[in-house]
Symmetry: C2
Subunit: 189 residues, 2 copies
DNA sequence: CTATGTGAATTTATTCACAGCA
DNA sequence: TGCTGTGAATAAATTCACATAG
C-alpha cells in the first residue's frame, strides 16, 4: 500500500483485507498503545514501522541450522529469512560426507561442534533434522546457549521455559483441509 | 506407538507428549463421541483410526497445482501429501516455456485449461503462484468447481463460503519467533 | 461526520472436579 | 484403583457500542 502511494487505511478496510473483524484490529493495536488517528485511520507508513518494531523484525540475529538434508538445504537457500531477522550464519550435520562441503557460502560443520555457538554469538537454532533426532538436537542447542528455536520437525520438543520454540509443521496444516471439505461426505454413506 | 507395540495411552501421557492439558485431550475426543476406556486410556490402534476418520485422512482426493515455480516444484515433488489425502493429478502454469514439460510424471498444462478440472473430477486446488496472482487463481479454481484450496501464497484470498481455504504462510509463523525472543531487548535500550 | 480506543457484554476455549465405569 | 467423560467454573478471546478526537 505504501508503494502504491496509499496514505492511510481504516480498521474496516484492514479487516476486510485480512478476513477479520474491525474491532479485532483496533483492539489488537490498542494493546500496543494505539497508533491510529480518529476520523482518519492508520497511516500506512507509520503502521508498518510500528508492526516491525512490535514483532522485532527490525533487528537481525544470527542463526544456526542443524540438519542439512532435503528440507535443510531449502531453508538454507531461502534468503527470505532475512526479512524476519534471521541471518543463517552456520550449518551443522552428522553426515561426514556433507561436513566440510559448502552450501550458500556456509561450510557445513560437525554437530559435535555445536557448543561453539555461544562464543560465536549465534542464539537462534533452526532444526531441520528427522523427527527422531529433534529432541536431542534441541537439547544440544539449548546447551549451546540459544534463546530461540525454529523447529521444522513434526513433533513437540521440550525446552527450558527461557527458550522460545516455534514449531512449523506444514503437515499439521495440510491435515486440516480434508476435514472441512464437504465432498468427503461421499464416504460417509 | 502402535509400531512399538504400545497398546494404550492415557490422556495424561498424550497431553505430556503434545504439551497440552489432559482435560483438553479428553474434552476434544469427547466431542467426537469419546473412544477411551475408563481406567485404561485410549487404545492406540483404535485412536489412530478414529482420528484418521475424523480428519478424513482416510480418503484420497485429486488435486491440481497451479504455479510450477520454485515452491510449486517442491510441492509437486513432495509425495508426503498422499498421507493427507491429496493426490496431485495435474499441474498448471502460465509460462509457455514450462507448458508441455513433464515433472513427476505430470504434464504441465496452460492455466487457461483450468476449466477442465470439473470434468476430470479434481476438486482441490493448490495455489503456488506469486502473491499478486493468488486471488485470480483462486477465482479460476472456484469457477472450475473445486471445493477446497490449499493456498501457499502469503495473502488472504476471498472465496464463496462453500469453498474451504487453508492458507499456509510459513513467513507468518517465522515472524513470531523474534517477538518472543528475550535477546531482542538489546535494542530497546 | 468519520473512525479510533476502550470499557462492558458476549462468546468461545480451557481447566477443574468428580460421578461412574472397567 | 485408575482413568474416562462431562457438567460446572474459570479464563481468554472476540465483538459490541459508544464516548471522544480529528
Amino acid at each position: 500500500m505504501s508503494k502504491e502511494g496509499q496514505q492511510s487505511i481504516s480498521s474496516r478496510d484492514l479487516a476486510d483485507f485480512l478476513g477479520a473483524n474491525p474491532s479485532q484490529i483496533r483492539k489488537d493495536f490498542s494493546y500496543f498503545g494505539g497508533f491510529g488517528t480518529p476520523g482518519v485511520g492508520y497511516k500506512v507508513e507509520k503502521l508498518a514501522k510500528q508492526i516491525e518494531k512490535i514483532l522485532k523484525l527490525d533487528i537481525t540475529q544470527k542463526a544456526a541450522l542443524v540438519g542439512v538434508g532435503n528440507l535443510g538445504s531449502v531453508v538454507l537457500a531461502y534468503q527470505g529469512f532475512r526479512i524476519y531477522g534471521f541471518d543463517i550464519a552456520a550449518a551443522f550435520d552428522t553426515d561426514s560426507k556433507k561436513i566440510g562441503k559448502k552450501l550458500n557460502n556456509i561450510t557445513i560443520e560437525d554437530v559435535s561442534n555445536l557448543w561453539t555457538l555461544k562464543r560465536r554469538k549465534i542464539n537462534i537454532g533452526i532444526i531441520t533434522v528427522p523427527r527422531d533426532a529433534a529432541q536431542e538436537t534441541a537439547d544440544a542447542l539449548v546447551k549451546a546457549g540459544v534463546k530461540g528455536i525454529l523447529n521444522f520437525s513434526p513433533c513437540y520438543i521440550t525446552v527450558p521455559k527461557k527458550v522460545k520454540v516455534v514449531t512449523i509443521d506444514i503437515a499439521m496444516d495440510l491435515a486440516r483441509l480434508p476435514y472441512y471439505m464437504p465432498a468427503s461426505r461421499a464416504t460417509n454413506t
